[in-house]
Chain length 247, copies 2
């Protein structure tokens, strides 16, 4: 375990030294899921560091920004093959902190000279996705790192401007809820109107009247109602629906 | 005029040499307006260059990304004090072209060494706005540059990935049409339902039935209907509306 940790840190040092990255540019991912009927966000924490942060990383010189986002998310969480959308780029001059950057590295026994590009200004492209948290079995990748889902109004101390990034990310998810839910695998392929309503309510954090919800959702025309199969019992099973292709 | 042009070019050379910019990062602005009942986009062209391009520029080391976008737009077009929103960041590896970058500079009699940061990879943050084109009296800033409004389906040859940026920008404007129109000054402070409908139709590129439009718009609850003033004539004047604050 200790050996694993040392080799982890050495690997990270090697990567940050040898790989060619686009300076000044990072990616941060806000990954949301629904648990206990609430919208949650995935945060990572390195042992002995007070601040939690979003899964993030740097863009290689020879890779597209979108490609980098997918790679970074996979490297930090093993999440793969999900509907990942860019939502906003964060570019305030003072959004990162030299001290905190150094603390992060110290927690891994890594040191870099003060003039290393790691300590320069970073602009960060935010990507987001809504996923089924039960599909994440192994995360995160590094040994002394832990990951946890947090309620949006019970966030821990967050590094840099990550609180703002989480806020913007959740706004984007809520604004684009129809596409996001259809792409998220939060529901089985066929689902009832009640199941769909529960997910909408969790993501938006509000409750709807059943009739209103059904009327509005059906008016949007992205659901397909399936035929009931007559199974001999009294015909009280609810209708099942599935998404038309909305991506 | 010739002297102006030389001093323009010298000033630009000085700026690109002496000012400290964040490497690898640029801003491009898609500015839309309505003319002849059509949505148009503002493009700039330097004399003797085949390609048109969006008003864009670089981010200074000591300025926020949003601040940079406002400054750049002002410097290129004198547009000021408008509702400018970031909509997407463009990060494909090969989105710019070394040859075209050099052609742009050659058109201004500027040369830089091949290893200058101007010729490295650039990631560009796209900003957009919907404006009243009649409020733009003087543009653009440089002498041998011209600006023109183009129909979205009659675009000239565009530099780099600017065609894609225009497309994404117009999608953003259309998706956020309510906020954009309210913030745009395209309408006077008080307007009729017909005037509002014309602007919606121009921006979205489709026609609506009058009753449907009125019903849907009023259901969204961002308009305030004003009292009719009785002026002694037969009371046939249409109702006037104004926007509630939606920003």
């Amino acid at each position: 375990m200790i050996n694993d940790e040392i080799s982890d840190n050495m690997r990270l040092h090697g990567v940050l030294t040898k790989e060619k990255y686009v300076k000044h540019l990072s990616v941060d991912c806000t990954i949301f899921s629904v648990q206990d009927a609430r919208l949650k966000v995935l945060l990572l924490n390195w042992q002995d560091v007070e601040y939690w942060s979003l899964p993030g990383g740097f863009v290689k010189e020879d890779e597209d920004l979108d490609e980098a986002a997918r790679r970074i998310l996979y490297e930090r969480t093993y999440l793969d093959n999900i509907f990942l959308e860019q939502f906003h780029t964060f570019g305030k001059v003072d959004r990162t902190s030299l001290k905190l950057s150094k603390d992060f590295l110290k927690a891994r026994n890594l040191t870099f000279p003060d003039d290393h590009w790691l300590f320069e200004r970073f602009i960060s492209a935010g990507y987001c996705s809504l996923v089924d948290y039960t599909q994440i079995s192994v995360f995160p990748r590094y040994n002394n790192e832990s990951g946890k889902w947090f309620d949006l109004d019970k966030l821990p101390k967050l590094a840099f401007d990550h609180k703002e990034i989480v806020k913007k990310g959740s706004e984007y998810i809520r604004k684009n809820i129809d596409t996001q839910i259809a792409a998220s695998n939060l529901l089985p392929e066929k689902f009832t109107m009640n199941e769909l309503q529960s997910v909408y309510e969790a993501v938006l954090g509000e409750n709807f009247r059943r009739n209103n919800f059904q009327r509005k959702i059906l008016a949007m025309n992205f659901l397909e109602r399936l035929e009931k199969l007559y199974d001999g019992s009294a015909n009280k099973a609810p209708y099942l629906y599935r998404f038309r292709d909305v991506r």
